[in-house]
Each structure stands twice: as C-alpha cells, then as structure tokens.
C-alpha cells in the first residue's frame, strides 16, 4: 500500500482534538489514532525531504512529540492534518540540517530485484541524489506531490500559498530537478 493521506473528516479531526483536550486516557487514545493515521504519509514526505530513512524516522518522532505538546493549544486556524504536515516539513528540514555536508544518502535503493533491474536502480539512485541536491523549497513541493492522496488544494493549504501558485512552484521545481539530473 502506498502512503495515503488519511481521510480524516473535519468531524473526526474535532473528535481527536476533543480527546486531546479531555486529557488522561482520551488524550492517549486520540494521540495514538493521529499517529496511526498519519505516520506513513509523514514518513514518505520526510524520506524525500531528508534523503535518508533514519533521518525521516527521527523527523517523524519529533513531529509527534511536538504535536503531543502543542495540540492542546491548537487554535484551529487550519485543518489539523494541514498543521501536522507543516510541522513535518520543519522537522524534516531540521533533521536534514543535523547531517554534515557530504554525508551519504541511504545505501539501499528503491526497487530491489536482481541484475535485470540494475539499470532501473541506477536511475533511481540518480533521481534521489538529484532531489537531495535541490534547495528546501522545491524539494518540499516535489515531496508533497509525491505523497499519494494529497491534492493540490491540500498542498496549497500546507504551504500557505494560492492554488494556482502551487502548479507554477511544482513546474519550477521539476525543471530544477531535471537540470540537477543532468549534472
């Protein structure tokens, strides 16, 4: 299964918030539910943003610690999932910055398989390295679009930009990625 944005309706988000604010066991259950619903898409996002699985796991941990602490004070100015994704972007940028310049990306490559798939794996390694060379902004746009289930409207909400701007940002980021691939 690909990482998908959970289909949390506003009512379900309100339930989670009420549970958090109630405290005690309800808070624990609400936090667990949020974790189960969001962990995979957040991890997918953080893998692309950090370039390493270990860094992505650290970032996901930081996200949920921050959410646990700050959720009771969440003002509801945006959707709960939007808010969590915004925190995830920042956690991933921070996790990546903890890595020294020049430290290698993941040694493992997507796809696996035997010798016949070597060419595809090499292509994948090249694409991942090219993505890692991009600045944070374009990397964020490409990574958000790669999380299955996020619509361009939700991405616009997460980035806090108009819907139309999302497409021009994606196009500019894609151009940079293609240039980076040719390096």
């Amino acid at each position: 299964m690909a990482a998908r944005l959970p289909d949390l309706s506003p009512d379900e988000e309100a339930e989670i918030l009420a549970g958090v604010r109630a405290g005690g066991v309800a808070r624990r259950q609400a936090s667990d539910r949020l974790f189960r619903e969001l962990r995979e898409p957040l991890h997918a996002l953080c893998v692309h943003l950090t370039g390493r699985r270990a860094d992505a796991e650290d970032a996901v941990q930081e996200v949920f610690v921050a959410v646990h602490r700050a959720l009771p004070g969440f003002r509801g100015a945006c959707r709960l999932t939007t808010w969590v994704y915004r925190i995830a972007l920042r956690a991933a940028f921070r996790a990546r910055a903890r890595r020294q310049d020049g430290e290698p990306l993941d040694p493992e490559t997507p796809g696996g398989g035997g010798e016949g798939e070597m060419a595809n794996r090499d292509e994948a390694i090249r694409a991942i390295a090219a993505l890692a060379r991009l600045p944070a902004g374009p990397r964020a746009v490409l990574s958000l679009f790669a999380v299955e289930g996020l619509s361009h409207r939700e991405i616009a909400d997460i980035l806090g930009i108009p819907e139309g701007t999302v497409w021009s940002r994606l196009h500019a980021a894609r151009r940079m990625l293609i240039e980076s691939l040719s390096v």
Binding site: A2, R53, A70
Partner: protein, 227 residues
Amino acid sequence: MASCADFEVDIEKRIHGALGEAGQALLEEHLAGCETCRAYQAAAREAEAVMSLRARTSAAEVDWARVERGIRGGVYASVRMLVGAVLAAAYMAGLVWLSTAPALREGRLLRTLPAMGLVVVLVALVAAYSARRLATLADHDEMLETHRALVLANVQWARRMQWAIAAIVAFLLYKALGGTAATYDPTVYYGGLAIPAAAAWYYLRKVKLPRVEREARDLGMAPRSEP
C-alpha cells in the same frame, strides 16, 4: 498562444489528475508536435514513479514500535531536562561547598540558593518551550517564509550567544585565575563554573551554529558570514 512552459504546467496537472478534458485534448495536440514537452513529460513521470516507489519501500521497512518508543521518550524529555536542572543546581552547591571554609559553608550556601533556583526555573521554561518549538507559528501565513524567518532568527541568536557565552567564560577564568576572596577559593568556584560554560560555548560553536547555518543554506538563504 500557450507556450511550452504553459503546457509543462498542464503536464504536471495531468500527472496529478487535475487537468480537465479540454486541457488534455489541447495538451495531446501539442505533445504530438513537441519533442521538448514529450521529454519533460517522460522525466516528470519517471521522477514521480521513483519517489512513489521509494515512499512505499521505505515505509514498509520502518520499525514503528521503535518510533513509538522514541516519541514516548521525547514526550518525557522535559522531565529529563528538569532532572538536569536540579543536577546543575546541585553542582553549584557542590562548588560552593568545596570552595568555602567549613565554618562559612552554610551561610554561603543559603546566599547562593536564589541563583540555584533561577537555574532550575530557567531550565524549566526552556524545557516547556523546546518540544513545542516546531509547532510555533505552524498555522501562520506562507509556511516556508515563516520557517525561513524563524531559522534566520535562530542563526542570529546562535551567533550572538556564542560571543556572550565566550565573554562569560573569559570572565569566569579571569576570576578563577586572578581573583581573591577572604571567604572562599575563587579558583575552585569560578573554575568549576567555567567548565560547563565552556562546554556550552563549544556546543553552540561546533554543533548548534553550523546546524542552523546548514538549515539556512538549505532554505536558500546565505546568512552573512562572520567577520
């Protein structure tokens, strides 16, 4: 007349299911005669496929139980910081004890109590804020711009603090090596305070500042170099 750049945006919309039928027909017509846009489409689809596959394979290998343990540990990090603050206060008390003549220890310890209490309160405030820092202004304006502003403020704070702490270390060493006092040994007291202050300076200079500067560069900012 639409340009190739316009059609490339349409290619992105089609890949992500946001291009209407009329737009698709126009795009197909353009692609039939434009090799550049066909190459763009192939590159975009390939990159999407690689990223999607990577997301799936990475998520399948995560040990979520370990991540949950990490989250629980993070939730209780502020408790650990408070324990650290109490230990720091105890360290100060130890320095007072060691540097003072036996007959004067109690009186001097009592006079140092407010300073110890201040250390505990300051660390408690930092502990309460630190885990929420990521969520600061997370529902505010354009996300990347807000984040850039916060990172830039962090860079400036770290640069100023390194000089402030360096000055404190210099002052403590000056007092430790050249100071005189009738009731206590300044070498033990100020020297003992200089050790954690120097450690804080080293952490800020060698770990914290390079990290926030890397983050600033990653965000496309080039914070002015230090003289």
